[in-house]
């Protein structure tokens, strides 16, 4: 079966002074798959993520999304095109309610031009926000101030917010970090559900077991380069991957 590439990077690189955080990365994301990107601390995962979402401008290389080059576009335009993201360190709009957080994202089309004059107080928007909160299981917290929520809830809030922009591809940045075992299970179930609905998901994780469990396919990043690619169970048996995580000689 011919699979359709939704997102592709070609020789993508980002250097900070002398540091090559991302150094010539080629990846392909196929529509509808759940792709994992793993790598030890400092491997360049978050930098890669910020390049794709427009928060950093690449030193060289291309990012092609649905046939269009998007490298260098500002984040808000990339978001409007349907690339949604969450943050590794959660960034809720703290003083707003959970509902308002999601609602604000529901208006992503209306921040363009002068459509901002339109009211948000309309059934379709409110219903959508409510539906998304139910989707991630936060409906009981809708009118709580976002800043007062525990981390597990905030991660789900960020996912709801990301879904609000009707994404074609969802980028999750370390969604498991700092979570309890029960919370991780909840997020895992949520990710599976979204994948089941046909959403393309790009998962950046340092929790390898979780990534292995969830992903259809995986890339391993180390020192800004791809060191392995393939089926998750095979990737983690790869010698250079084991060395990257546990140190040279451990594979023996």
């Amino acid at each position: 079966m011919e699979r359709e590439v939704i997102l592709e990077t070609k020789d993508l690189a980002k250097h900070f002074g002398g540091v090559r955080a991302v150094d010539g990365v080629d990846i392909k994301v196929y529509r509808g798959e759940l792709l994992g990107i793993i790598g030890p601390n400092g491997a360049g995962k978050t930098t890669f993520f910020n390049l794709v979402t427009g928060f950093l401008k690449p030193t060289r290389g291309k990012i092609i999304y649905e046939g269009r080059e998007i490298q260098g576009l500002p984040p808000y335009r990339i978001a409007r095109m349907g690339i949604a993201r969450t943050f590794q360190i959660v960034r809720p709009l703290k003083n707003l309610t959970v509902f308002e957080n999601v609602l604000t994202a529901c208006g992503y089309r209306d921040y363009w031009g002068f459509s901002f004059v339109k009211p948000w107080d309309r059934e379709d928007y409110l219903d959508k926000a409510e539906r998304l909160l139910r989707e991630v299981g936060l409906e009981d917290y809708a009118y709580k101030q976002a800043g007062t929520l525990p981390l597990g809830h905030l991660r789900r809030l960020e996912i709801a917010r990301a879904l609000a922009i009707d994404p074609k591809i969802l980028l999750l940045d370390e969604s498991m970090s700092g979570m309890s075992v029960e919370e991780i299970e909840e997020i895992k179930a949520l990710i599976r559900r979204l994948r089941g609905k046909g959403l393309t998901i790009l998962l950046v994780e340092h929790n390898v077991p979780v990534a292995v469990e969830l992903s259809d396919r995986m890339y391993v990043l180390n020192f800004g380069r791809i060191i392995a690619e393939g089926k998750p169970e095979e990737v983690v048996r790869n010698k250079s991957v084991i060395e990257a995580y546990l140190g040279a000689g451990y594979a023996a």
Binding site: G18, V181, H206, N207, Y245, G247
Partner: protein, 236 residues
């Protein structure tokens, strides 16, 4: 017993980072705390240094309860600290960074002797003594962070992920340094590391942490063959 951590439970913001963790370390030992990213290793060191307040439990240093003491008192007890990500003072020179490390020492002579000792250990730092710390390469910066921690002639040196973000060759250099600190200078070291293999090479004993709990405590040579370590890191 030089340092004993008893039933420590720590929250990091809203996250329970440590769940009833107990570890200890005797004089002259090198003890490694390994585990996946986010296992609570860094929080453990930060708790010992007083940078996060534990919710429960005690920290005893040379028999004295230091749980509620501020970080600068702990520094005065000659607990040396090499923070995660090095965290040098970027706009101070190499030598000034070292002098901040010696802040608790009052005697000029002694400071000078320590400076000499650190420069003997890391000749490259002496060459770059008047350069700003931010201009150092990753490996040099790590050397400086270790040197800064050694300035107080520490009774124990807490090292947080010294291999992080360094190229493999430099990681080897850093661990050679750690071994020589152990063998020649007889420094007691509590080492937090993600690079399990390297940590197990230099350590006498090891604790394996996972989601805030100690899941394995063993002699380093035993742990090397323990499949649990690999399972925790890579699953499967």
């Amino acid at each position: 017993m030089l340092l004993r951590v008893e039933n420590l439970t720590t929250y990091y913001g809203k996250i329970m980072a440590l769940d009833n963790v107990s570890i200890d370390i005797s004089e002259g030992e090198v003890v490694a705390v390994i585990g996946r990213n986010g296992a609570g290793k860094t929080t453990l060191l930060r708790s010992i240094m007083g940078l996060v307040k534990p919710a429960k439990g005690r920290i005893l240093f040379r028999g004295e309860d230091i749980t509620g003491k501020p970080p600068w008192i702990r520094a005065k007890l000659r607990i040396g600290y090499v923070p995660e990500g090095r965290r040098l003072f970027p706009y101070l020179t190499v030598e000034e960074n070292l002098l901040v490390g010696a802040y608790t020492l009052k005697d000029k002579e002694e400071i000078y002797r320590r400076l000499e000792a650190v420069y003997r250990l890391f000749p490259r730092l002496e060459e770059r003594r008047s350069q700003l710390a931010r201009t150092l390469s990753g490996g040099e910066a790590q050397m400086l962070a270790i040197g800064r921690g050694l300035m107080v002639n520490p009774r124990i040196l807490l090292m947080d992920e010294p291999s992080m973000g360094l190229a493999p060759k430099i990681v080897d250099e850093v661990f050679d340094t750690i071994s020589s600190l152990k063998e020649e200078e007889k420094v007691t070291i509590l080492l937090v590391e993600q690079n399990a293999r390297k940590a197990l090479e230099v350590a006498d004993r090891v604790y394996l942490l996972d989601t805030g709990r100690v899941v394995l405590h063993a002699r380093a040579d035993e742990a090397r063959n323990d499949l649990r370590v690999r399972k925790i890191y890579l699953g499967g």
